[in-house]
């Protein structure tokens, strides 16, 4: 039978953080389901939501804030699976500095923030929750490289825990420096990260394709996250991600596993409705959206 052509736009470049997506592709899970899926890597300038609306992609990965913003502007999209159970956006700091045990420990520190980025929203929520005002901390704008952190100009630096976090940790380990990560989720701030989205129309008109796609995708993720498949997974990643070395990729995979499947009992793809609601509230408070978008209406947990 004729295979169905689908485009699947990722959020970021091919690397360990998209292990499951490329695993499903490489192992032919999509083919088995009668789908011909082009898995395309992303970058900050590319936007899966736009592409879905324009019909250039049928499925994509977007972060929760993108989704909520789009819904605020009446985009007809739905979330069909939440890939990351824990937000990888965390802050790295050197172990020779006092450990952050309570939020108030942030006071007086020099903190890196990407202005306009997710981390700014999250950190603002942290400050609000702890009652820290902007005068209590030093804030430095973050660019794409870590030099200010490496040169100790900034104490606490935002990283993606499972990719940059691993690389930085490794780099510093070479100089005998150890690090900790500050994870806002540990303090009750749950800001949802990447999820799989598609158009409303797709869900309504072609539920079978959605189901087939999601089933094969999540099967890929399950397999990729299975420690038993570690070697196969790493080989698949290596083919697409030549930038990192084997050791780093292995550590990244371990870190990714913890974010995707924090407990064995968690089924990959589970949509954490409460976390989504909290995310929506945070964005409302930060004035990033004008009205509640009733996010729960746009979360469709597809059973597979």
């Amino acid at each position: 039978a004729e295979k169905i052509e689908l485009n699947y736009r990722l959020k970021w470049l091919f690397n360990t953080s998209v292990a499951g997506d490329i695993y499903a592709d490489a192992k032919g899970f999509f083919d088995d389901a009668g789908l011909n899926v082009n898995v395309k890597q992303g970058s900050p300038e590319k936007n899966a939501i736009n592409e879905i609306e324009l019909g250039r992609a049928q499925f994509g990965v977007a972060s929760a804030d993108q989704v909520i913003r789009a819904l605020d502007k009446k985009a007809k999209i739905v979330v069909i699976a939440q890939l990351l159970q824990i937000n990888p956006m965390q802050w790295i700091y050197r172990a020779d500095k006092p450990k952050i045990k309570v939020l108030n420990d942030l006071k007086g520190r020099n903190i890196g923030i990407t202005f306009g980025g997710n981390d700014e929203t999250i950190m603002n929520t942290v400050f609000a929750k702890a009652g820290i005002s902007k005068n209590d901390v030093n804030i430095t704008g973050v660019r794409f490289d870590f030099t200010p952190f490496l040169m100790k100009k900034v104490d606490i630096w935002p990283v993606y825990r499972n990719t940059q976090g691993v690389i930085l940790k490794e780099k510093l380990a070479k100089q005998n420096e150890h690090v900790f990560f500050f994870n806002p989720a540990d303090f009750g701030i749950n800001f949802v990260a990447n999820s799989v989205i598609t158009s409303m129309e797709m869900v309504k008109n072609k539920p079978d394709i959605v189901k087939k796609f999601l089933t094969s995708l999540l099967k890929g993720w399950e397999a990729a996250m299975d420690p038993a498949n570690e070697k196969v997974t790493l080989d698949i990643i290596k083919k697409l991600d030549k930038a990192d070395n084997d050791k780093i990729r292995k550590k990244q995979l371990t870190a990714t596993r913890k974010l995707i499947k924090p407990f064995a009992s968690v089924k990959i793809g589970t949509i954490n409705i409460n976390a989504w609601k909290q995310t929506q509230n945070i964005m409302l408070k930060e004035k990033q959206i004008k009205n509640k978008v009733n996010i729960e209406n746009h979360l469709i947990q597809v059973n597979y």
Partner: protein
């Protein structure tokens, strides 16, 4: 002249917006992909003032950066105009620095001078200077024989005289290039702000981009366009005045 510029810019801009709106209509896209007119106006009301001052802020860096690039371009153009070893060496250096796109050099610049105003200025001038350099080099490397002959044969030729003659003879080309390079300097400053700064319209654009807020970007583009038109118009007027002061007015020519 200036009004014409602004008027023409408005046409271009409105045309661009209409084009986007038609696309929005044809593919029935949501406001997230392409905002509707109302949303654009609403956003304008919200951010206009803030963005306006951002653009002015950027413009101030632009003007400074353009001055620096003009100086750099003339410095390199003049010292690299001969086809001697050293001339060609200077050119190779200047060309190579350009070949390394600013995104790759930026980290090194930040390591060396940290971020802030100076980096922003440096990156802006580095983006703007090279195109200027090309024109200056072309002009500086072409002798004006019928004027230079006298000085060469009587042994009175000095480098600055040579430069002056060639600049003068190509004045209208140079003023075109310099006033045109204003837009490059602006673009360079915005890119620099995009990479590094925490002020200026480039920074605001970055935030709007993170938020996928096309309406804000369109407002920013509008302000950038209108202000650059005015700036460039002023530069052209200055250029005309220099031309008519330094050289001779062309009023008298019959044919």
């Amino acid at each position: 002249m200036l009004y014409r510029r602004i008027f023409q810019f408005l046409i271009v801009y409105i045309f661009g917006i209409l084009f986007l709106l038609i696309i929005k209509f044809i593919f029935s896209l949501s406001d997230y992909v392409i905002p509707n007119i109302l949303l654009i106006i609403e956003t304008a009301a919200q951010v206009f003032k803030e963005y306006f001052f951002d653009v002015i802020n950027t413009l101030s860096v632009t003007i400074l950066g353009q001055c620096i690039s003009i100086c750099m371009a003339f410095f390199v153009g003049i010292s690299g105009r001969k086809s001697s070893w050293i001339g060609s060496f200077i050119k190779v250096t200047a060309y190579n620095i350009q070949a390394y796109p600013i995104v790759a050099l930026a980290p090194i610049i930040f390591i060396l001078i940290g971020d802030g105003f100076i980096s922003r200025l440096l990156i802006a001038s580095m983006i703007c200077y090279f195109p200027l350099l090309l024109s200056v080099l072309g002009i500086m490397a072409t002798p004006v024989k019928d004027i230079e002959h006298f000085y060469i044969i009587t042994g009175q030729m000095k480098w600055h005289l040579e430069v002056k003659i060639r600049i003068f003879e190509n004045l209208s080309k140079l003023t075109t290039v310099i006033s045109g390079s204003a837009t490059l300097a602006m673009a360079g400053t915005i890119v620099a702000e995009f990479i590094a700064a925490n002020a200026g319209i480039g920074y605001s654009i970055r935030i709007a981009l993170y938020q996928s807020n096309l309406a804000k970007i369109l407002i920013a583009l509008f302000l950038i366009g209108i202000i650059i038109s005015v700036y460039q118009g002023i530069l052209e007027v200055i250029g005309e005045q220099i031309k008519s002061k330094w050289s001779i007015s062309k009023k008298g020519t019959i044919l």
